[in-house]
């Protein structure tokens, strides 16, 4: 039996999954805020992107982000594998109580896998995608706006993006409130409100990201 410490324990693995997940929820908010500049216009969006990548601290931020993603995925995968093994033989019929599991909570491993596939494609498409150039206020910079509008001119790409963002919304809708419970924060009057805020945030990110994709489709 391997030694039992915080990192090998059930609760430790859950708490690490939860804290990295919370960090990633923060990232979804920051990324969405940046994307909203698409509504302002091409120059504002491109200037923001240029500002980000020309700051040397971006490498530190990216390293932290990558570490959070990898840790979150590894810990969640370990927990899921153990949970499947713990169940053993499946029930012939299993009726849910209606007061426990939700679509979001049941599909966490699946929405997580969709997010992983999405993020890899997203990086290939955009971060490492075609390099167009534009000039804003005399500064030559990458024209990411053009690339974004180009991708979202394809309705199939928009459909896949919206599908992935619904998965994201479900994932964070359960994940946000679940992470607080895992860190021991549960209060009879605050917890029901936290659950509502968590679901509302899930809906907000799904609609926010998807809405911008649809907006870009109609820009064409």
């Amino acid at each position: 039996m391997p030694s039992h410490n915080y990192f090998t324990s059930s609760i430790g693995k859950k708490q690490i999954t939860a804290i990295t997940g919370l960090g990633l929820v923060g990232f979804t908010a920051a990324h969405l805020a940046g994307n909203l500049l698409i509504l302002v216009g091409a120059d504002a969006f491109n200037a923001y992107g240029h500002g980000l990548i020309s700051n040397p601290l971006i490498y530190v931020a990216e390293a932290i982000l990558l570490a959070m993603f990898v840790t979150h995925i590894v810990m969640a995968a370990l927990v899921t594998i153990q949970n499947t093994a713990a169940r053993g033989k499946r029930y012939y019929i299993k009726n849910r109580s209606g007061h426990g599991e939700t679509i979001a909570s049941m599909t966490m491993p699946y929405t997580g896998i969709i997010m992983l596939v999405f993020i890899i494609l997203h990086l290939i498409n955009f971060k490492y995608g075609a390099h167009y150039e534009t000039t804003v206020d005399g500064v030559v910079m990458r024209d990411l706006f053009k690339l974004v509008v180009e991708y979202f001119s394809n309705p199939l790409y928009v459909a896949w993006y919206v599908f992935a963002m619904i998965a994201l919304g479900l994932h964070v809708g359960h994940g946000l409130q679940s992470s607080l419970q895992t860190w021991g924060l549960n209060h009879p009057s605050y917890t029901p409100k936290v659950k509502m805020i968590s679901v509302a945030y899930g809906v907000l990110v799904a609609i926010g990201y998807s809405g911008l994709a649809v907006y870009c489709y109609f820009l064409n």
Partner: protein
């Protein structure tokens, strides 16, 4: 449903398994003249009487007090731990909750940590092992003293009493999609950690009980709350949050 006694004819689909190593199978039975006033276990008793008369092996199931406090009568009834009624053990479930002609599927708890011994009976000694790992108070509390010397606030007293109402039936493990024993472990930990005598060893207790729980092969809580919904005693998820805090404290303080 009505309050007047009726007689039901039921189709039962019951899990039969000879021993730990047997693969097991469902067997269908038809049972007639079941009173709506009888309890679910009395209904199985009726079936067993018939099976014995026919020279067949009766359905093996655990039962003891038949008044909802011992936690023995573990079984899944139509895919729900202890059947369809909230806050009810199988022995307190009555046949008036069913209708004439119903098919009722009865299965044992399914969890790697609760192997099936025979038919509906499972080996739940894993729970005893979790208790043995730390579900007790070992500090010397001295002689009996005046009750008011140890002030306990009302909220903690209530929460400790609620946690202590756990009967260790295993419905939480059975209902959890991950077969996690965290609600049980948390209740057994909270009932002590919330009171002055138990608080002293709270962190160490959390560490030892969680280690035992993990090593026995139970799953991890993913905050679905199916356990809370299935619990016949209404043990709530706050206990798990409390355990998560105590466990973290134990690791931070090195206990």
């Amino acid at each position: 449903m009505s309050n007047v006694e009726q007689m039901l004819t039921l189709n039962l689909k019951i899990w039969r398994q000879d021993d730990r190593n047997d693969k097991g199978r469902f067997v269908d039975y038809k049972l007639e003249e079941v009173s709506t006033d009888s309890s679910f276990l009395e209904m199985i008793d009726m079936l067993n009487d018939e099976l014995v008369k026919e020279g067949k092996d009766p359905v093996s199931f655990d039962h003891d007090c038949r008044e909802g406090i011992c936690g023995s009568c573990a079984m899944m009834v139509n895919g729900q731990a202890h059947g369809p009624n909230a806050l009810t053990t199988t022995c307190q479930l009555h046949m008036r909750s069913f209708s004439d002609g119903d098919t009722i599927v009865i299965e044992p708890w399914r969890s790697r940590a609760f192997p099936v011994l025979k038919d509906l009976r499972t080996d739940r000694s894993a729970f005893d092992k979790i208790i043995a790992a730390g579900g007790f108070i070992s500090v010397n509390t001295g002689n009996a003293q005046d009750a008011n010397n140890l002030p306990v606030n009302k909220e903690n007293a209530d929460r400790a009493m609620d946690a202590a109402s756990c009967i260790g039936c295993g419905a939480c493990v059975a209902a959890c999609p991950n077969a996690s024993a965290m609600l049980f472990t948390a209740a057994k930990m909270s009932q002590l950690a919330l009171l002055p005598q138990g608080e002293v060893e709270a962190a160490e207790r959390a560490s030892n009980m969680v280690r035992e729980m993990d090593e026995l092969g139970f799953g991890n809580c993913t905050n679905h709350a199916e356990c809370e919904a299935a619990c016949p005693k209404g043990i709530d998820l706050r206990n798990i949050a409390h355990m998560n805090r105590e466990f973290l404290k134990s690791k931070v303080s090195g206990k």
